[in-house]
Symmetry: C2
Subunit: 154 residues, 2 copies
Amino acid sequence: MEPGLEAWIRFLRAHASLTRQLSASLEREHGLTLNDYDVLVQLAYAPDRRLRRVDLARSVLLSASGITRLLDGLERAGWVAKATCASDARVTYAVLTQEGLAKHREVRTSHLADVESLFGSRFSEAERNALSALLLRLLEPGEDELRACASEPE
Amino acid sequence: MEPGLEAWIRFLRAHASLTRQLSASLEREHGLTLNDYDVLVQLAYAPDRRLRRVDLARSVLLSASGITRLLDGLERAGWVAKATCASDARVTYAVLTQEGLAKHREVRTSHLADVESLFGSRFSEAERNALSALLLRLLEPGEDELRACASEPE
DNA sequence: GGAGGACGGTTGAGTAGTCAAGTATTGAGA
DNA sequence: TCTCAATACTTGACTACTCAACCGTCCTCC
């Protein structure tokens, strides 16, 4: 096997392993996908708790249609709603409802605990920072939209 | 947002971004999925170029049924074939055909170049090693089946 | 003030995976 | 020897995505 490939293969395996476990637990306990949760988080921290569908798609790295379908589900569940844009009739916002905000809070704790036990706890703080910095190199400029939200939403 | 989450989110984003690009190029140029290619590689380096379906599933982290369907495709294309096991009638091997081996070689070069440009080239050798070591921590014991194959197959 | 390209969004058709249930085989213990 | 749990694998039904084609709106440039 190629020498330089080792890190890449481990990256692939680690992702498969972690997301399997995390999404199984998210699904089982809360009926959510990893991406569903990700969208809930993005909205919870967004100004006015609303985001254009396009921006949402970009920030969770899904295609435009992927976002439409994902939001379909969240809308059916009552966690997000549509809103039109006064200044541009093309765009429709996805806005987090009160129920959606409550859902986010409900899921948050247990999910953070899962991430911590499967991911965070494997590293010291310095290591985690190093890893984070290395991973940043893999992102295209603009893909690192972590959003500047240092505190709890609301 | 939670401080410890940054690395995790970048991990998720980096994976989405890289696999999107890599599998698009693999698909476009060779008609293969990332997992298809992964299976081809596993088989190419396996003793006798054959592996039990169960072992294959474990090493690429797919479910048993996932492997069945994936191999369906590769069998239809003529790249792998089934073989029975003399000592245990339950198992069926997946064996790489000559065409499959040729396909692996055909894809190999361009895919390695893609991985190198999107992944490898972002790091110095020391950084790549550091990353690899950190990623190893995320794998369960036994999931790091990189297989001890330091050289080209055959 | 059109015309035409770029943008935001949805829809239809197809694909790659999942889980749950089922079949067949194996091997260990009463 | 018979039984029964564990293992290897497949199938059916479903889900979460993708791309390509489409519609409507916006904006620029003649």
